[in-house]
């Protein structure tokens, strides 16, 4: 494991801890207004300054980490879950069924994804749940395709035939014989897809179509900061840095994991 992977996992671990322990760590509540210190620059009292309502930026970012990470990680986990089941079934059953299932995937793939995420978010109501569902609905297809490819390869191995000959059920073969062999790829994919989801969520929230107030993610904080960028650049700088370092860390972690779990494909890129 190289240094960048180590630093990244350390950073992500601390971030996760901060998000989970937000109420105990944040110096202020995320909506508490300090009306004497409106639009304060970073200082001793408010480490990262305050916004136009006098709310502490650091505290809002700590609470925002909850939203950003929750949406990013769990929508990817759910997409991974759906995509894995779908892809495995499609490849394992094969034939006409496989064809039909893959046509569905092709159609979802052809949609302009960010636009679809926006429309679904608006449909579901602009909140954490809406963005979460929109991201899941759009991203499971990538995973379904990947898993299908892997399962198609694995199911031709003689040991699968042997398992069949020994009388193993299809269910058992999929779960006990095939699944462990794609687990590595799934972990790597998870690490590469989470930043994609975080990026999509923050972009949506930035243009005002994602998470709606009073809930706030790093994207909504950056959006607030954008309106005051000329004179108070720190308001957009800190949330942007949080998004940037989180995505960077997930990408580094993914590369480290790929080298470790899936050396075959790591060589290729």
């Amino acid at each position: 494991m190289n240094t960048s992977t180590k630093i990244s996992s350390g950073f992500l671990f601390i971030l996760l801890l901060t998000a989970v322990l937000a109420p105990w760590i944040a110096p202020y509540s995320y909506q508490e207004q300090d009306t004497l210190n409106i639009l304060a620059f970073p200082g001793a009292e408010h480490w990262l300054g305050t916004d136009r309502l006098g709310r502490d930026l650091l505290s809002r970012m700590i609470y925002g980490a909850r939203v950003s990470l929750f949406v990013g990680v769990f929508s990817t986990v759910l997409a991974l879950f759906i995509g894995t089941i779908y892809g495995t079934l499609s490849a394992y059953v094969g034939g006409r069924m496989d064809n039909l299932m893959m046509r569905v995937v092709d159609v979802v793939f052809a949609l302009p994804d960010l636009l679809m995420i926006i429309l679904i978010t608006v449909l579901m109501g602009r909140g954490v749940v809406g963005v979460f569902i929109a991201l899941t609905l759009v991203s499971w297809v990538t995973i379904a395709r990947l898993v299908r490819g892997e399962v198609l390869r694995i199911k031709e191995y003689p040991y699968i035939l042997a398992a069949r000959a020994l009388g193993a059920s299809h269910y058992r073969i999929m779960l006990k014989e095939i699944f462990p062999n794609i687990l590595g790829i799934l972990v790597v994919t998870l690490s590469f897809r989470v930043p994609v989801a975080i990026l999509a969520e923050s972009t949506l929230s930035f243009v005002g179509l994602g998470i709606a107030p009073p809930a706030s993610s790093w994207g909504t904080l950056a959006s607030d900061g954008w309106t005051a960028i000329k004179f108070y650049p720190h308001l957009i700088l800190f949330p942007s840095l949080a998004i940037f370092f989180t995505i960077l860390s997930f990408n580094f972690l993914g590369e480290g994991l790929r080298e470790f779990l899936d050396p075959r494909s790591a060589k290729g890129s």
């Binding site: 159609v107 052809a110 949609l111 302009p112 994804d113 960010l114 636009l115 679809m116 926006i118 429309l119 679904i120 608006v122 449909l123 930043p195 990026l199 923050s202 972009t203 930035f206 243009v207 005002g208 179509l209 950056a222 954008w226 960028i229 000329k230 650049p233 957009i236 942007s240 998004i243 940037f244 995505i247 960077l248 990408n251 580094f252 290729g268 890129s269």
Partner: protein, 307 residues
């Protein structure tokens, strides 16, 4: 002839995709609670009824769908609900060239920065230069375009007053938005180029070319680069699609009067025909980008059968 048949086939295959996009968008849009004419100002019910009758919003959804599709087949995208008196095709005619120019500038940035960086990185493998390029590429991949946009506005417009922070009134206005949109993808292309160039540099015919005494420059240009283009071309399709759909954030930041900015307001306004129009144009662009890329691919590498 072969190319032509391939082209026609792909165009025909694109049609069901577009119909599906239209249908899904229509469904999602109409499932959203609330309609385009809910406003804070309370209108008398008769007026609402009149407006809804004018746009057929009082019909059952399946009738509305059939009406819309019929209209669409005739090439009519309908009137905008919010920009009264303007047709959607009218708005698209004004905004599409802007978004298209922005997208093409971004593609230039992606290739212009990414490919040379990747070649340099591979040629001087493991040098300090290579490491810095790799670091920059990793950063580029991880930075959201709106962050890049905001930071570059702050530095180049607010601090140094070099470039305009917004609007779209000439070449000078294009630099920052195109950079913000393309830089991330450039990082991706740089990495990809580095990998493939490294592969090619290790092959036998490069050794032969060196043995023949060709200059390093001509080896790089004629032998290495040409043979490294395939993987790059093959990702250009999805990449262009990403640039096109990702441009709405950049248009939002820089107040560029393109399709993306209209899409954002159309979604907030529930301007159904405008949402449909923009989504369809995006979908058509994505389909075309993929066809063009596949054709270039077939032209670059005759071994790839254009099937």
């Amino acid at each position: 002839m072969f190319m032509l048949r391939f082209f026609l086939r792909r165009v025909l295959l694109g049609i069901p995709v577009l119909i599906t996009v239209a249908t899904l968008t229509f469904l999602i849009m109409h499932l959203v609670p609330g309609g385009p004419f809910d406003s804070d100002k309370i209108l008398p019910p008769e007026i609402i009824a009149n407006i809804e009758a004018k746009y057929h919003l009082d019909e059952p959804i399946e009738i509305q769908y059939l009406l819309y599709m019929k209209q669409l087949l005739q090439g009519d995208l309908g009137p905008s609900y919010k920009y009264i008196g303007r047709d959607v095709s009218d708005i698209l005619r004004d905004t599409f060239p802007v978004s298209f120019t922005l997208g093409m500038c971004a593609v230039l940035i992606v290739l212009g920065l990414g490919v040379p960086a990747g070649v340099i990185s591979a040629y001087w493998k493991n040098s300090l230069l290579d490491r810095s390029i790799l670091l920059f590429a990793a950063m580029g991949i991880s930075v959201p375009s709106f962050v890049l946009g905001a930071v570059s506005v702050w530095i180049f417009s607010h601090q140094w007053h070099l470039l305009p922070p917004a609007l779209w009134e000439g070449p000078r206005y294009m630099i920052l938005p195109a950079f913000a949109l393309g830089a991330g993808f450039a990082g991706y292309i740089a990495r990809l180029t580095r990998t493939t160039v490294l592969d090619v540099l290790g092959s036998d015919y490069i050794r032969t070319a060196r043995a023949k005494g060709l200059s390093e420059f001509s080896i790089l240009l004629r032998h290495v680069l040409k043979n490294s283009m395939y993987p790059i071309v093959s990702v250009m399709g999805p990449l262009t699609a990403g640039l096109i759909t990702g441009s709405f954030v950049i248009e939002f930041i820089f107040s560029i009067p393109g399709m993306g900015r209209f899409f954002i307001t159309a979604v907030t306004n529930r301007d159904y025909p405008l949402i449909m129009g923009v989504t369809l144009v995006y979908a058509v662009l994505i389909v075309i980008a993929n066809i063009v890329v596949d054709m270039i691919y077939g032209w670059l590498d005759p071994r790839v059968s254009v099937k």
